[in-house]
C-alpha cells in the first residue's frame, strides 16, 4: 500500500477529527474540573425562567448613541443591578442600539425602578446637613420657629432657599430606612432634600441642597489614583480626580470661590459650616459631599478623604457615568416561567428527535447502508455542536435559548443536505460507469464546490440574522451558523474520508445491493456486459426517445480521459478472459 494516496489521507483526516474532538472535550473537561464550566450547555432565560427587559437608551439632546455610550450604559445598569444584589444578571447590548437585561426570577419593584431610572448626576451646594434618622415628631421645630425666607435667594448657597415646607420635609426624612419608590426626578432649579446612604465608614446623612450648579455632563473625565504628598511622594491616600470641560471649569471656579469663603469663615474645621460642602448627586442621592478646601480655577478638582482603592474607583466610575446622561425606556419586558420554557424545550426536543429519526429512516431507505454514514455524520456534527455550545457557554457566556434549539433542529435537515448532494454526485459518477473509488474522488471534487457555495449562503444568512436580529432570534441565527460550520467540518473530515475508506471495502466497492451504491440499481452501464458481450452502442441506456434527450452516458464517455478509456479497455479485455465461461451476473466493477 502506498504511503500517500486517498486511503492514507483519509485516515489522516479522521485522526485529525479525533484530535479536534478530543481537544474540545479536554478543554471542556478542564473547565469543568476547574469548576468554571459545566458539561451541560447554559440555558437562556426562556428555558430557565426569569425576566428579560429590553431597554432603549435615550441620550439627552443628542439624537444618536455611540457604541461607547452604549457600553457605558451597560456598565451603568450592571452596576445598579449588581448593587441591588441580584445574582447572575446578564446585561448586554443588542444590535448596537438596545440594552438587554436578563434577570433570573422576578425582580423586585425596586430593582426594576433602579434599572429604568436614568443616570442623572448633578453638583449641588449643601445648605444644611444632619444625621440620617428622622427627627422624632415631638422634638421637631415648632411651626413658628421654622426658617422663613427673608428675601429671594441670591445664589445657590443662599439659606433663603429653605422654606418651611422644605425644612419640615428635611426633618421628617428618614435616611436609615429610605423609601425607594421615587417616581419623579427632582427639579434642578429647586432645592432638594435627600440622603447620603450609609456606607462602610460613615452613617447615613441627610441634606438640604441648593439648586443644581454644575451638571454631570460637564465632566470631561474622571480617574482615581494614590494621592501625592507635598513633596510629590506617593502617599497611601486614594484620591479621585475630576476634569471639567470649559463651561464646567468656569462654573466650578465661581462655585468654589463662594464655598471656600464658608470654609475659611468656619476656620477650616471639620463640622464647620455645611455650606462649604458641595454634594455630588447621582439619581437624586448624594454619593459624596466633599468640602471645598480651595478655589479650583483649572477645572481639575481632586476629592480626597478616607477612600480605599475600591471606593475611589467606585466614585470615579459614578462620576464618569454621570457625565453621560442616559435614561432608559423599557421597550419590552417579559417574565418567563421556567415551567413553560421547560415544557417547550421538552416538546421541542421530542419533535427534534422524531425529526431526526425520520431523517435517519429516510436516508436508510434512500441510501441503504450509506444512510449509516449519514447517521454517523449527524452524530458527529451533533457532538461538535454540543461541545462548541458548552465551551462557548463557559467562555462567552453563550446560553441556549428555545430559538437556539429550533435552530439546532432545523440544522438537522440542512446538515443532511450536504450528504445528499455528495451521495447524489457519487451516484452520478457511478451511473457514468466509474468504479466506486474513482466515483468517490470525482464526486467529491464536484460536490465539494457545491457544498462550499451552499454553506456560504447558509453562513451568510446566519451572520446577517445574527447582526440585525431582534429579540430572541439571535440564538437561532447563532446555532444555525454554528451548525453550518460543524457541518463543513464533518463533511470534510468525516463523511468524505469515511467514504474513501468504505469505497475500498468489499461491501461497498463491489456494490452490494444494500450498499446504496449498487451500480446495477443505479443503472450504470458497466463497461462489459457479461461473457463475450462487449458494450455496444445499443447498450447505451439512452434510448433515443426524443432527440433532445440524448443521453448523458455519451457525455460520460466523452468526459473520460484517454488514460481512463485505455484502462477501461484493458480491464474489459482482462475480465472478458477471466469471465469466459462464467455466467455470473456481470455487475462487478473492475478494479
Amino acid at each position: 500500500m502506498a504511503r500517500t494516496g486517498p486511503k492514507n489521507s483519509a485516515i489522516r483526516m479522521l485522526v485529525w477529527l479525533g484530535v479536534l474532538i478530543a481537544a474540545m472535550t479536554a478543554v471542556l473537561a478542564g473547565g469543568t474540573l476547574a469548576g468554571q464550566a459545566s458539561w451541560a450547555p447554559k440555558l437562556a432565560l426562556d428555558l430557565e425562567g426569569g425576566t428579560q427587559m429590553i431597554l432603549a437608551p435615550k441620550v439627552e439632546g443628542d439624537s444618536g448613541i455611540t457604541e461607547e455610550q452604549l457600553n457605558q450604559a451597560v456598565a451603568i445598569i450592571r452596576q445598579r443591578v449588581d448593587g441591588s444584589g441580584v445574582a447572575e444578571a446578564e446585561i448586554s447590548t443588542q444590535s448596537g442600539r438596545n440594552v438587554v437585561v436578563s434577570l433570573p426570577g422576578t425582580p423586585a419593584k425596586e430593582t426594576r425602578a433602579l434599572i429604568q431610572a436614568s443616570a442623572d448626576m448633578n453638583f449641588r451646594p449643601v445648605l444644611q446637613a444632619g444625621a440620617g434618622a428622622a427627627v422624632p415628631e415631638a422634638s421637631r421645630t415648632p411651626e413658628a420657629q421654622l426658617p422663613k425666607p427673608t428675601a429671594a435667594p441670591a445664589n445657590s448657597s443662599d439659606q433663603n432657599w429653605i422654606t418651611p415646607e422644605i425644612y419640615k420635609q428635611f426633618e421628617a426624612l428618614d435616611c436609615d430606612n429610605p423609601s425607594q419608590d421615587k417616581q419623579q426626578r427632582s427639579d434642578p432649579t429647586k432645592p432638594l432634600v435627600t440622603c447620603e446612604p450609609a456606607s462602610a465608614n460613615s452613617p447615613a446623612i441627610k441634606y438640604i441642597l441648593g439648586p443644581v450648579e454644575v451638571k454631570g455632563s460637564n465632566i470631561k473625565s474622571s480617574s482615581f489614583q494614590l494621592q501625592r504628598g507635598a513633596q510629590g511622594a506617593v502617599t497611601n491616600e486614594w484620591a479621585v480626580n475630576i476634569q471639567f470641560d470649559d463651561a464646567g471649569t468656569a462654573k466650578f471656579k465661581e462655585v468654589t470661590e463662594r464655598l471656600y469663603q464658608f470654609y475659611a469663615a468656619g476656620g477650616g474645621q471639620t463640622g464647620s459650616d455645611p455650606r462649604a460642602q458641595f454634594a455630588i448627586v447621582l439619581d437624586d442621592q448624594v454619593i459624596s459631599a466633599p468640602r471645598s478646601l480651595a478655589v479650583i480655577t483649572d477645572g481639575r478638582p481632586q476629592i480626597t478623604g478616607g477612600f480605599t482603592e475600591e471606593s475611589a474607583k467606585a466614585l470615579s466610575d459614578q462620576l464618569r457615568f454621570g457625565a453621560l446622561p442616559i435614561s432608559f425606556e423599557i421597550q419590552s419586558e417579559q417574565q418567563i416561567s421556567a415551567t413553560l420554557g421547560g415544557e417547550q424545550l421538552r416538546m421541542g426536543m421530542l419533535a427534534g428527535l422524531i425529526g431526526l429519526l425520520l431523517v435517519v429512516v429516510y436516508s436508510l431507505f434512500q441510501y441503504r447502508a450509506l444512510g449509516f454514514v449519514t447517521v454517523a455524520s449527524l452524530v458527529i456534527a451533533g457532538v461538535l455542536t454540543f461541545l462548541a455550545i458548552a465551551i462557548l457557554g463557559w467562555t462567552e457566556n453563550y446560553r441556549l435559548s428555545l430559538a437556539g434549539v429550533a435552530g439546532l433542529i432545523v440544522a438537522i435537515g440542512q446538515t443532511a443536505d450536504s450528504f445528499i448532494v455528495y451521495f447524489e454526485r457519487i451516484r452520478d459518477e457511478l451511473r457514468e460507469g466509474r468504479g466506486l473509488v474513482s466515483a468517490v474522488e470525482n464526486g467529491w471534487k464536484r460536490a465539494k464546490r457545491t457544498i462550499l457555495a451552499s454553506k456560504a449562503v447558509n453562513l451568510l444568512a446566519a451572520v446577517v440574522l445574527f447582526f440585525v436580529a431582534v429579540g430572541n432570534v439571535r440564538g437561532f441565527a447563532f446555532t444555525l451558523g454554528l451548525t453550518a460550520i460543524a457541518d463543513l467540518i464533518v463533511v470534510f473530515m468525516f463523511t468524505h474520508p469515511t467514504l474513501q475508506l468504505l469505497a475500498r471495502t468489499k461491501f461497498f466497492g463491489e456494490g452490494h445491493r444494500f450498499s446504496g451504491l449498487d451500480p446495477k440499481r443505479l443503472g450504470a452501464v458497466p463497461l462489459y456486459r457479461g461473457a463475450g458481450r462487449i458494450r455496444t452502442p445499443e447498450d447505451k441506456p439512452v434510448a433515443v426517445v426524443r432527440a433532445k434527450n440524448t443521453g448523458a452516458a455519451a457525455e460520460a464517455e466523452r468526459r473520460m480521459t484517454i488514460a481512463e478509456r485505455r484502462l477501461a479497455e484493458k480491464q474489459e479485455q482482462a475480465q472478458q478472459a477471466q469471465l469466459a465461461g462464467s455466467s455470473k451476473s456481470a455487475s462487478k466493477e473492475g478494479k
Binding site: Q335, E343, G348, L356, S363, V410, V457, L460, T550
Partner: protein, 338 residues
Amino acid sequence: MVNFSTFGNELYTGKRSYDFVGYKKIWFLVAGIAVALSILIPIAKGGFNLGIEFRGGSEFTVSNVKTTDAALGEKAVQDVVAGSVPRVANVAGTTMRIQTDKLTDDETLQIKEGLTKAYGVTDNEVTSTFVGPTWGADVTKQALLGLAIFVGLAAVLMALYFRTWKMSLSALVGMIVTMFITAGVYGLSDFEVTPSAIIGFLTVLSYSLYDTVVVFDKIRENTSDIQASTRRTFAEEVNLAINQTLVRSINTMVVAILPVGAILFIGAGLLGAGTLRDLSLALFVGILVGTAATIFIAAPLYAWLRQGEPELVKQAKRVEQRRAEAAKTASPAAPATA
C-alpha cells in the same frame, strides 16, 4: 418509491424527462397568480394577524390551568381595568394566554394575582410580558434591514460564484417568489406574525438560495462547453440539469422538511403558539415553495434569459441542423417510446 433510484437513473440519463423549461410560461403564470394572491389575500383580510410584539401591550400566560374557561381570564382583567377587552385564548392543552392593552406595573401585578386565583394555579405558573409600542416598529425595521442586507450580499455572492448576473438574477427572482408565497400562506393561515415568524422567513430565503445554488451548479457544469456541443440546445441542457438534480432536490426537501414538520405537527400541535410553531410554519411552507421555485421559476428563467444570446441562438441552429441530418440518415430506427 421502491424504484426511486431507477427513477433517478432515468432522470439522469434523460430517458425520463420532465419538460420544466419548455412549459415555463405556464409556471411563470402560475407563480404570478400565486404572488398576486399572496399580496391580495392579506390585504383583503385586513392585514396580517400581528403578534403582540408588533401591536404593543401586555400578555399573560397561565400554565397548568384547571379550567380553560376564557370568561375567567376576561373577568380577572376587567376586575382590575374596567371596560378593557382582553383577548383570551386557549393556546395549548392547559395553557391560557391573555392579551391586554398596555398596563401599569400595579395593574400587571393585580391581574397576575387575579389570574392565579381564577385558574387555580400557583404563582410561578402565571407569566407576564410587556411590549412597548416602539418595539414592533423596531422589529419591523430590523427585519426589513436584515432582508435588504441579505438580498444584497446574496446577490453579490452569487454573482461572484456563478460569474454571471443572469444566474444571480434568476436565483433572486426565485427567492422573491418564495418569499411572497410563504408570506401569503402565512397570512392565509391566520398564524400570528411574530419575530420568530420573521426569522423563519429570512431562513427560508437562505434555504431557497441554497437549493438554487445546487441546481445552478449542475446547470453550469452541463452548459460549460455548450458552444462546442451540438447535442442539445442551451434550454435543453438546463432542463436536463434540472432533471438530473431532481432526485437530489426531492431528497433535500424531504430531509429538510422532516424535522421542521415534526416541530410543526408534533411539538407545536401539543404546545400551541410559541417560538417553535411560528418558526416552523414559515420554514415548512418556505422549504416546499423554495424547492418548487428553483425548479419551476429560477432555472427556466435563467434558460429564458440566456437563450436569446446570439451565440446560443447560433448553437441552437447547429443542434437542429445536426438533428435534421441524423433523422435523414437514421430514419428507419424508429424511436422507442417508453
